[in-house]
Each structure stands twice: as C-alpha cells, then as structure tokens.
Symmetry: C2
C-alpha cells in the first residue's frame, strides 16, 4: 500500500525504473524476484516494462509471467513486440496464449499482423474459435461486428435468479463481463437484459424473465462502431448487445472497447483536420518515414492547389496598387481562421451525431449571423488598424482612407463567406459520402484563400475604380 | 421488442415523432398513455422529448414521470430546461428530486446554475449532503475531486463474502456502482478492492480481506481529472478510487464520468486548435451571440498579430522583384500547414500523456528528420511546378531558373523551420504552464508566417544578390 499520487508521467518514470531493476535481476538470474515484481503489477504496466527491456531477454521475461497474466500482457503490447514474441513461440505456446485470450483481442491482433503470422494464429486456435474469428473478420470495416466480443453471459427466461447466479459463478472466468447478462430464447433471439445488480437484489426463487428489462436497446453487426460507442455512452451502459439481422444475439461491445472507439475516432479527426493521414501508432513509436508518408501527400496537394491563389494574385498584381498586396496575407489568414472555426465546429458536431444534413438551413443561418457579427467587429478594428498602425505608425504613405476602406470591407466579406463555406462544406461532404473531417482540414483554407482574393480584387476595383 | 437498427440520427427522428405524440396526448388529457410511453423510455430519451415539447406543457409532462425516472431525466436535461423546472418546483418537490439524485450529478447541476438557484438547491438538500456538496465544490477546477461521486460500497476486511453480498443487496439502490467495492479500516483508509465478480465466485464463508486485491491503484482528490480518466481507461476499470492526502477513501470516479471527461477534454482541444474558446454547450443549442463571443477575440488577436507579417512584407516588397510576391501565399500556406501537422500531433500526444517535456530532444530530432524529408519532396516538386506551371503554362515571363530556385529553397527551409517550431512550442508551453493546445492553434501559423517571410527575404537576397 503506497500513498503517493498517481499520474501518467510519474507512472512512466516509475516503470522505467522497474524495467531497469528487472534487467538487473534477470542478469543475476534472480527469477523469483522478477516473478514477484511482475505478479504485483497490472498487465498494461508489464507490457510497458516489456517494451523497455532489451530484445535478448524479453522472451525470458515473458516466460516468467503466470499464464493468465502473460495472456493479458500480450494483449497490451505493441504490434511489433507481439510479432516478435509470436515468432519465438512454439505452436503449443501460441495455442496456450491464444486460448487464454478473449476473441475480440485475438481479432485486434490478427488485424495488425502480416499474413504468415495470421496463418499461424488461425492454425493454433480451436476450430470453434477459428470460425468465430473468421466471421468477425468478415464484418465491414468500422462496423459494430468488428469490435464486439462473443463471450457474454446468456440466460433462458425460465431460469430462476438462484440458478442464474450459479451459472454466473461457473462461467465468470471466461466472460468479459458478468455485470450485464442477456436473456434469449433457444434460437438466441434477444428477449431482455438483466444486470448482476438485478440478480443480487432479487429473490433467488424469482424467474429471470420476470425481472429482465425487455425494452432492450441493441445494435446491429453492420452499424457504425462510432455510433454504437456514442449510444452506449448516451445510456451509460457497461455493454451494448449486438444482434444479426434476425435479432439473434451474436456479441456484445463492452464499455472499455467503446472508450477505445471514441478515442480513436477523435484522434482520427484531429489528424485529418491537421491534414495528416490518421494512424493508430502513438507518435513516439512511429518511425520518421511513416510520419513523412502520412504528411507529405497532403502538403503536396495543398501546395499545388495554392497555384489557384497564385494565379489570381498574378492577375491581380498587374492591375492594382502595390500597397494593397501588403494586406493579402492578413485577409487570406483571417479568412482561413474564420472558415476553420466554423468547419471544425460543424465537423465535430457531425462526428458526435449532434448535427446532420437536415440541419443545413439552421447551420447556414447561424453561421451567416455569426459571420456578420464577426465581420462588423473585425471590419471596424481593421479599418482603424490599417489607418493608424500600418499608415501612421509604420509610416506607409500609400495608405489613405480609401485603401483602409477597401481592406476593411474585403476582410468583412471574406469572413462572412469563409464562415458559411466552412460550415456548409462538411455537411455537403457528409451528404455525398465524403469525410467531413477532410473538409475541415486546410483544404477549406485553400478554397477560402482563392475566394478572399477574388473578393479583394472586386472590392478594390469597385471602390478604387480600377 | 423491435428489430430495427439503432443509429443516433434515426433515434433523434423517432424521438421527435414521440414528442409530437406526447403533445397530442397531453392536449387530449390522455395522461395514462403519456405515462406508459415515458416509462418505457430511458431517461436520456425522455430528456430529449422534454426539450422538444412546448414550454407551457413541460412541467405537466415532467410531473407525469415516476419519481426515480423523473430524477434520472432531470439529470440528463439541458441547463436551461433544468433552471426553468427548478423555478416551477415547490421546495418539497425540489427536495424530493434532489434526494433521488447522486451527489456528483447535483454538483454538476449546481456548477451551471446562477447563484440564486444554487442557494435554493443547497437549502433543499439534507445537512449531510450539503456538507459533501460544499467539499466537492471546493476542490480545484478540473481536479478528480470535482468529478467523483461519494456513493460507493465499502466493506471492512473482516466481513465474510456472504455478509458483504447481503450488504450490497441492502445498499445497492443508493450506490452508483456495486461492481467495484472498497475495503477500508475504521478510519476509511483504503486497504483493497473487491469486485462483485470476486464476491460471486468466492465461498460465502471466506473473509473479504483474504480475497481483496491490495495492490490498489488510486488517485488523489487534487489530481487532474483527464489524467485520472486516462488511467482508468488504461487499466480498464469500471471505477477509480479517490483518496485524500492521508489515503482515506473519499469517493470514486465511475467509467461513465471518465468517458465524459475524455470527450470533454478532446472537444476542448478541437476548439482551441481552431482558435475558439471552448464551451460545453452543443453547437446547435448555443446562441449566435455566444458563438461570436467564443470566436471573435481569437480572430482579432490573429488579425492584429499578422501586422508583423505585413510589416515584413512591406520592407520586402520595396526591395524585391514583383514576381517573388506571387509565391508569398504559397510559402506561407505550406509553412502553416507543415507547422500545423507537427503541432497538432505533439499537442495530442501531450494531452494523451504519451509525450512530455523530457521527450523534447527525441521530438526535435524526429521532426527535424521528417521536416527534411518533406522539404526535399516539396522542394523538388515546387521547383518543377514553378518552372512548368507558373512559368510556362501560365506564361509568366518573369519566372526563370533562379526565381524557381529561390522559391523552392525558401519553401524547403520554411517547412523544416515550421515542423520544428510546431513540435517544440507545445512542449515549451506545457513546461512553463501554458496550454499546449493554444500553441497548436493559428498562433503558430502567425509565427511561422513571419519566419517564412524572413527566410524568403534572405534566400532572395542571397541567391539573386539584391
């Protein structure tokens, strides 16, 4: 029993120290002490230690772990560590580890492994598990079926509470959760849900069917996993039942997997909005070349698409006073920022299912008004700033009232256009099946850049009469 | 038992229809049917219906709900709906609702209410609850103490499993979770954890102390709530115990609250990265003026800070051939995008506690190499693009080999600088106690804009000899 506070940073440092100690102990062949240290730690911590010790001793370290803890630790490891370890296993060892694991964890690992390793894994699972794994692997990408687990507790409606509790006692060890149990008929049609709490507070003689909740909320194997995770969160469930298209229970999605989905999907949106191809590998563990591959195509696309702005600017420059060119970066930048604000807001609202295409008129009207308010505020300030700071303070004699007016009006119109475009594009993208998050990325900036230049050009022509 | 698939969009439409039906039924005074509809729905759905029905009948609708469901629904409502409802309550009604609620939910509501309402709420809670609420309200902002609940199940180590299960049966109704229980001494010092699963599979005569897990992971009331949520997620806990600085158990944080924290914190980062002041109100429910208030200060700051770029450009323009000005938006844009990629990546890694200040040298070295790789790729492409597209295709006769070279080299150096700055600034911000997410926002773009112009200026001077 320690009394120190837990933080992830502190934990990481502590585990590094433990890793060093483990290395020393293994060198001294003091395996008893290593075992003792390991069995006192939770699996994610052992996996972190495993990642830090030298490759030469990692297999030895792994074999010191008790069977169940070894399987739990294996699930928590990096893909690369898992692959190396599988290579070091005999078929019997692999079979033992795999039979200790939950099927959804096995599937997660299979999805990251090269074909030869997948073949070995499938060869070393029981026939029944192999069939289940193959079914799960065949569900569409990002569907509920791919994240569910097939190990849940199932009762018949006629069972008594007492019998149900005895059943839980017997099967608990192999089930991912025993706290939400499912009542089905003999064909696995989902009839109701009963929680361990319901069972505990009911009379042992009661029939399960009479205490179950039959207003079941379930999802289908083909539903989007993010929708499912948000639904589980909405109702505060510990698990969500997954049924096939004949309402037969085929699996459950537990709250820990739902958290993973929610985290993954928001990290994906962060990446896309920053014009990066999403990856599930943590930053520090991704090699330079992979980071480069995820970033450079987007930089290239955006760079080349900026040719449009350059071309507009080229036409513009010949026609207009040089003094106006000075404010191009400011107008383009503010336009980009304004559009970014609305596009990120709307894209996240789409991701969280708070907004959909049918809200387009409301979103348009909202952003138009926000845009006008922002335009007025920034227009007035810009007019003053251009006159006073750029004109008087920085002593640019080419700046007069008309120039300030052209800049302020162009900026205002750009802001309104950017806000509306930024809000509407993600909704349109979603409607036609594109990814709204990509719309919230610098791609919108490129579009807004071009539009802001055209607005600037027309304002200058109109007001300065050129 | 329905067989249709659940999606959040479909659910929303369905609830709108139910709301219309409820309005009709209330007009017909068919309250029995309204009650029947409501009792079959989970609280979050009733809260959504409540938000859609006209204000005149909402109080009436709420009073038709059974007591427990009414309290659950109240917790799920929008702040505005809650406030109106509290105003309509008599003191007795308010007391009844509050006594049905978990204390952490009461605290959440209090935090959003105006002072007069808070006063009424506190007046209508039991003396004991009031003391607890006040303690929780006094914990620092964003600390574990502010999100914990004080209603958990506690055992003495000497209790038998059978007695523990009986105890659970008795108190289950008032506890937020019964699935993770805590073993303490008589002074509430946390000794161990025992799950409902452990209790169910153990012999009723066994002593709780002998089956508890004493390698307890706990957090302190003052720990950051995001760290705590990530820690709970790391270990797959359903609840995390919170202790005071003498290791006395004061509360627990349940998995549903941890999910809220994770979601909230990533939405905050999204907002900050888009240069918006974060808000917890969903987009469609935020009024135009509040959206404006969250966005306009940042647009102003960024607009004014762009004066730096304008000033550099002003000095630049007088000295340099007009043709180079054409590429200013492209160089600044690519610099901004490059910096954005690295800053968003590093900022999220900091938020997820994957990276901290001690990783600065590794991050610097990684981004330097990624930057060089990107710089080479984009440099080569830009050189070709400027020569071929801008020069030949768009027929700009001022573009020659030297101009293309100046543009390509400036772009390459800008990319490297932007990548390194984007990665290092968030780490520095974190170190000196600033918010890294604000660094990932357009503020970095402003800085990179200025630096890219200076690089461009020096390259042009160096290569073109001006």
């Amino acid at each position: 029993m320690t009394e120190k506070e837990f933080t992830l940073e502190g934990l990481s440092e502590e585990l590094s120290e433990t890793a060093e100690r483990v290395v020393d102990l293994i060198k001294e062949k003091n395996y008893t002490e290593v075992k003792k240290i390991a069995t006192e730690l939770p699996a994610p911590d052992i996996a972190e230690i495993y990642a830090e010790i030298p490759i030469e001793i990692e297999t030895l370290f792994f074999r010191l772990l008790p069977k169940e803890l070894a399987a739990e630790t294996f699930v928590e490891m990096d893909t690369e560590d898992q692959r190396r370890l599988i290579d070091s296993f005999t078929d019997t060892q692999l079979y033992d580890i795999l039979s200790e694991m939950y099927i959804d964890d096995t599937v997660d690992i299979i999805e990251e492994m090269p074909a030869t390793v997948v073949k070995r894994i499938l060869k070393n699972t029981s026939k029944e598990d192999r069939a289940t794994i193959n079914t799960i692997l065949n569900y569409p990408k990002d569907s509920a079926g791919t994240v569910m687990t097939t190990e849940y507790v199932r009762f018949k409606a006629e069972m008594t509470v007492g019998a149900a509790l005895s059943h839980i006692r017997k099967v608990a060890i192999d089930k991912e959760t025993i706290y939400t149990c499912y009542v089905t008929d003999e064909n696995r049609h989902l009839l109701g849900i009963v929680t361990a709490k319901d069972l505990l507070i009911s009379d042992p003689e009661t029939v399960v069917g009479s205490i179950m909740d039959d207003a079941v909320i379930s999802v289908s194997t083909h539903d989007d996993k993010e929708e499912v995770a948000l639904l589980l969160d909405r109702y505060g469930f510990l698990a969500m039942p997954v049924v096939d298209n004949e309402n037969r229970l085929v699996g459950i999605i537990t709250v820990d997997d739902a958290i993973e989905v929610i985290k993954e999907e928001s990290e994906e949106d962060f990446a896309k909005m920053a014009a990066i191809t999403p990856s599930e590998t943590p930053y520090l563990k991704t090699n330079v070349f992979d980071i480069w591959k995820a970033r450079v195509p987007w930089l290239l696309i955006l760079m080349i698409s900026s040719t449009i702005s350059s071309a507009i600017l080229a036409g513009f420059e010949a026609a207009l006073p040089a003094v106006l060119v000075l404010f191009v970066p400011m107008i383009m930048g503010t336009g980009g920022n304004s559009g970014g604000q609305s596009s990120v807001t709307v894209t996240r609202s789409i991701s969280l299912s708070e907004v959909d295409f049918s809200d387009l008129p409301r979103v348009f009207w909202k952003e138009l008004r926000v845009g006008i308010l922002c335009a007025v505020a920034l227009g007035v300030v810009t007019f003053g700033k251009v006159m006073l700071i750029d004109g008087l303070l920085l002593g640019n004699s080419a700046i007069d009232l008309t120039v300030s007016l052209v800049v302020a009006i162009s900026l205002s119109l750009t802001i309104i256009a950017a806000k509306v475009i930024g809000a509407v594009l993600p909704l349109l993208a979603k409607k036609i099946g594109l990814d709204p998050a990509v719309m919230a990325s610098p791609l919108i900036t490129t579009l807004v850049d071009a539009i802001s230049l055209i607005i600037y050009l027309f304002c200058a022509r109109g007001i300065l009469n050129i």
